[in-house]
Amino acid sequence: MTKANTPERNNEGFLENSSDWSPEIAAIIAAEDQIGLSEKHWEIIGFLREFYKEHEMSPPSNRLFVRSVKEALGEDKGNSIYLMQLFPGTPAKTACRIAGLPRPTNCL
């Protein structure tokens, strides 16, 4: 799949419709941030997709993203250093963008 036929996205690169998402699209979005997706990334992406299905929202801020990961996967993964290494920038924003979810509402 090329960039030309990826689904509709907003001006910050978030998918307009989370159901348009696929692992292939995740890889394309991640590549824009120079991120090559590993098993560790997929674990967090899978967690976020499940979270969205259950709560109909993305974790609204970075702190709440870290806390949610900690609740689900434990302290080794639910800490900002680990998540920052996987998803540079603002981890919640970067990870939600790759996972095809709406932008966390309280992230700048």
Binding site: F51, E54, S61, S68, T105
Partner: protein
């Protein structure tokens, strides 16, 4: 002690309740103790099996189910208001504490704010 946010408006009618929920999540994010109290028509936030596809809004039931994960300390429901709306533990979301007296719950917090 900590902050108590009171939702006494029904779900989906206005944005007031969602904004209050967002405020509760933000306080929790910064480790400020916060709890939610549902009273009046607001107890209808807590009803199970809300199917919102027909009205094009996100389910407040599902949004609310993230509250305890985010660190909101407690969800209280006014018992009198629940009785008025036929709400019993069986048809309510899990993790809700019934409050016989809303006034008493408010007295247990250093700051109480109503939504909307």
């Amino acid at each position: 002690m900590g902050t108590l946010i009171v939702i006494d408006q029904p779900p989906y009618g206005t944005w007031a309740g969602r904004e209050a929920l967002d405020m509760a999540f933000s306080l929790a994010a910064f480790d400020q103790p916060v709890a939610l109290l549902f009273t009046g028509a607001g107890v209808n936030w807590l009803r199970k099996s809300q199917e919102t596809t027909g009205i094009g809004q996100k389910s407040v039931e599902k949004n609310l189910s993230a509250a305890l994960i985010f660190g909101v300390e407690a969800l209280y429901a006014d018992a009198t208001a629940c009785a008025r709306y036929g709400l019993v533990p069986d048809n309510m979301v899990t993790g809700v504490a019934m409050a016989e007296s809303s006034a008493e719950v408010m007295r247990q917090h250093s700051h109480t704010a109503f939504a909307g």
